[in-house]
């Protein structure tokens, strides 16, 4: 099973409090071992060496937008592995979906890669009339 990392985003109100509380509560009740950090941004600002260990291997991260998480780590030289990292966005997803995804053995990597940077989405592509 991949490691689980939960970010509490303690210093801002941007993650819905109900979502992060429910995710944390269910993680605590799950019987599964996990790492929880108060705030990934704060760790990045500190250039905390622990980020490197959190970035290693198969990991599911409950935090915010995958693009932001990728570069919170990457900006301090702790590159997340595009093939073995899945980020669950507590700003936009429901707690139930996040927990279902966190507790499965499968991992669906979803970090944006550099080829995605300027690639238009389906909606942005011109449609043939």
């Amino acid at each position: 099973m991949p490691r689980i990392l939960y970010c509490h985003c303690a210093y801002a109100q941007v993650v819905p409090p109900d979502t992060k509380e429910e995710v944390l509560r269910q993680l605590c009740d799950s019987g599964v071992a996990f790492d929880a950090v108060a705030d990934l941004c704060e760790m990045a600002a500190r250039k905390d060496p622990a980020l490197k260990r959190y970035a290693e291997g198969d990991v599911k991260i409950a935090a915010c937008y995958p693009r932001a998480v990728k570069w919170i780590f990457g900006g301090v030289g702790c590159k997340l592995n595009n093939e073995t990292t899945e980020v669950l966005n507590m700003r936009t997803e429901q707690a139930e979906y996040i927990m279902d995804t966190l507790l499965t053995d499968d991992i669906s990597p979803n970090l944006p890669d550099d080829n995605d940077a300027r690639k238009p989405t389906e909606e942005e592509l011109p449609t043939a009339n």
Binding site: A12, V32, A68
Partner: protein
Amino acid sequence: MSITEESTLRVLLYEGTGSTELESEDRFNTMSRLLESGYTVTRATGNGKVASHDRGSMLVLGQFADGQPPADQVEQPEASVRFQDISELDQDAIIETVEKTRDETGAAEHGAWKPWFPVIDYDRCTNCMQCLSFCLFNVYGVDDDNQIQAQHHDNCKTNCPACSRVCPEAAIMFPKYKTGPINGDKVTAEDMSGEKMKVDISALLGGDVYSALRNRSVQAQERFSKERDEKKALNERQKCMKKLAESATDIPKEVLMSLPSPDEIAKKADEAKARAEAALARQRELEG
């Protein structure tokens, strides 16, 4: 001491072999309160993996059968590890114990600063140095390879996303910002083609914010040299700041009011521009 030089304390809530599990509510409350206080907390059970620990201080909390977990259950290579049996402790006493340990180990105190700083999306960044040139607070610098980076995170003005709006590639994120793409959400074609990202800054004082401020500075100098009236100088600055605030509604008033005087802004802008130009020149040299 810079925040990058401070060590931190890792708390490990041990519920594996040789310990009694906490009650559900106690476990959640302990985790929750420690996270709110800024600690990193690992829950260790017999099920699942957690990140390793190679240095720094660690406090292991648990309801241990023998006062501490079996020696083979906790990895402790070069780390300073302490154990605390919490069987008889209530929530407040647990937090107090952790705080005391933090104090004794000299680990960082959290929460003094809201972690607000630019996060660069290097998949988008073209190293154009516009952010370095724009920022008056020396948040940006370049590394040994001349790559732009956020270097002085705690110089950044809390809740101010201004530099992200001057980035032509929408490569600057503030993960705690309210809306996308500055918060890290996907960058859409509309964000790029509509100049939405830059509209606030480009509208500031009718174009280049620094030249506008410089013009104001010249006008102000002429006027003030005649009037020698400090109160009027202050009024002028406030008028200028008010206009900035009206044009860029999401730049906090405190940030605008803490901006240096127009003269100082002009000087800092020149310095920042010189740093950016020097970095670009080095980059051209490296590229041959």
